[in-house]
Amino acid sequence: MIFVILLTVMALFGVQYVRRRVAPSKKIYGYILLSAVYTAGLIIGHYYFTAS
C-alpha cells in the first residue's frame, strides 16, 4: 500500500512538472510517458510484493 501511495505521489509530481515545464505541443507525450512509467511501476510492484 505504501508503495502504491509513494508511486502515486511521484506520478502527481510528474503531472505537475509536465503541466508547468513542458511545451504545450509536447504535453500529451509527457502524460503518455508518465502513464507508461506509473502503470509499469504498479505492475512490477504487484509482481514483486506478491512473489515475496
Partner: protein
C-alpha cells in the same frame, strides 16, 4: 490535465448516458439491466443449458467464467474503437461551432465504455461471490489491465477517427476488422484447441496479451506473464504516442475536411 479537458470529458460522459436512455421511464436503470441480462445469458445458456465445459475442468460455471472474463473487456475494447473511429464525423456540427480539443471526444467514448464495464464487472463479482468462486489477490491487477487495453483502444480509435475523416470507407473496414479480430482471439475458445502453427501466430495479436491476462487471473488464479504485461504497457503507450503524432500532423486537415 487541461491539455485534454477533463471537465469536458466528464460532461460528455454524463450526457452520453442521459441521451442514451432519454425519454425512457427507467432511465439510467437500463444501464444496470443490460449487463445483468447479458451475464445471465452467458451463465444460463453456456453453463446450464449447453453444458459447455473447459478441458480438464468439470465445474458447471467454469466455461461461463472463462467466457465472461474475456468477453466483457473485449466488448468495451471494440465498442471504444468502433465508436471512436467515427466520432469526428458524428460530432462534426459541434466541432465546427465550438472550439474544442478533438482528442477529448475520443477519450469521452473510452470513459463511457469504462463506466459500462465497471457496472458489468460489479455484477460479475457478485456472481463470483454468490457461487463461492475463490477470489484471489491478483484480481487487483484487473483495473490496470483494463486501463492498458483502453489506452490501446483509444489510441486506435484516435488513429481511425483521424483517417476516417479522409477515407469514409475506413468505417466499414474497421467494423469488419474488429469482427475478424474477435474470432482470431481466444475469447470463446481455448488456445489449446488451435493447431500449433496458429498458436505461434497468436503472439502477433495484441489483444491476446490482455485477454490471456484476464483468463489467467479469473480462471487459473495465477499472475499473467510479467513479460506480456510489460509488453502490453510499452505497446499501448507506443501506439498512443504514434496515434497522437499522426493526429497532430493531420489536425488542420481534419478540421478542414469536417
Amino acid at each position: 490535465m487541461s491539455a485534454i479537458g477533463l471537465s469536458f470529458i466528464w460532461e460528455f460522459t454524463k450526457r452520453d448516458f442521459s441521451e442514451r436512455f432519454a425519454g425512457s421511464m427507467l432511465g439510467a436503470v437500463w444501464a444496470l439491466i443490460w449487463p445483468i441480462v447479458n451475464l445471465l445469458i452467458y451463465i444460463i445458456i453456456f453453463g446450464k443449458l449447453m453444458g459447455a465445459r473447459l478441458p480438464g475442468n468439470s465445474d458447471t460455471y467454469a466455461y461461463s467464467i472463462y467466457l465472461i472474463s474475456g468477453l466483457i473487456p473485449w466488448i468495451a475494447f471494440t465498442n471504444t474503437i468502433g465508436r471512436a473511429s467515427t466520432i469526428f464525423l458524428e460530432k462534426k456540427t459541434l466541432i465546427t461551432k465550438v472550439s474544442l480539443r478533438l482528442p477529448s471526444l475520443v477519450i469521452f467514448v473510452g470513459a463511457a465504455e469504462a463506466v459500462t464495464l465497471a457496472v458489468t464487472y460489479a455484477f460479475f463479482f457478485i456472481f463470483l461471490v454468490v457461487t463461492e468462486y475463490p477470489l484471489n489477490r491478483h484480481m487487483l491487477l484487473v483495473p490496470l489491465i483494463f486501463y492498458l487495453q483502453q489506452v490501446l483502444a483509444l489510441s486506435l480509435g484516435l488513429l481511425f477517427a483521424t483517417l476516417t475523416t479522409f477515407f469514409r470507407d475506413l468505417k466499414e473496414v474497421v467494423g469488419i476488422t474488429l469482427q475478424l479480430w474477435f474470432w482470431a482471439t481466444p475469447i470463446i475458445y481455448v488456445q489449446d484447441i488451435l493447431p500449433n502453427f496458429i498458436k505461434r501466430l497468436l503472439v502477433l495479436n495484441p489483444a491476446v496479451y490482455f485477454i490471456d491476462a484476464y483468463h489467467d487471473i479469473f480462471m487459473y488464479a495465477k499472475l499473467p506473464s510479467l513479460g506480456a504485461m510489460v509488453f502490453l504497457v510499452v505497446m499501448a503507450h507506443g501506439v498512443a504516442a504514434f496515434a497522437y503524432w499522426v493526429f497532430r500532423s493531420l489536425e488542420k486537415d481534419v478540421r478542414d475536411a469536417i
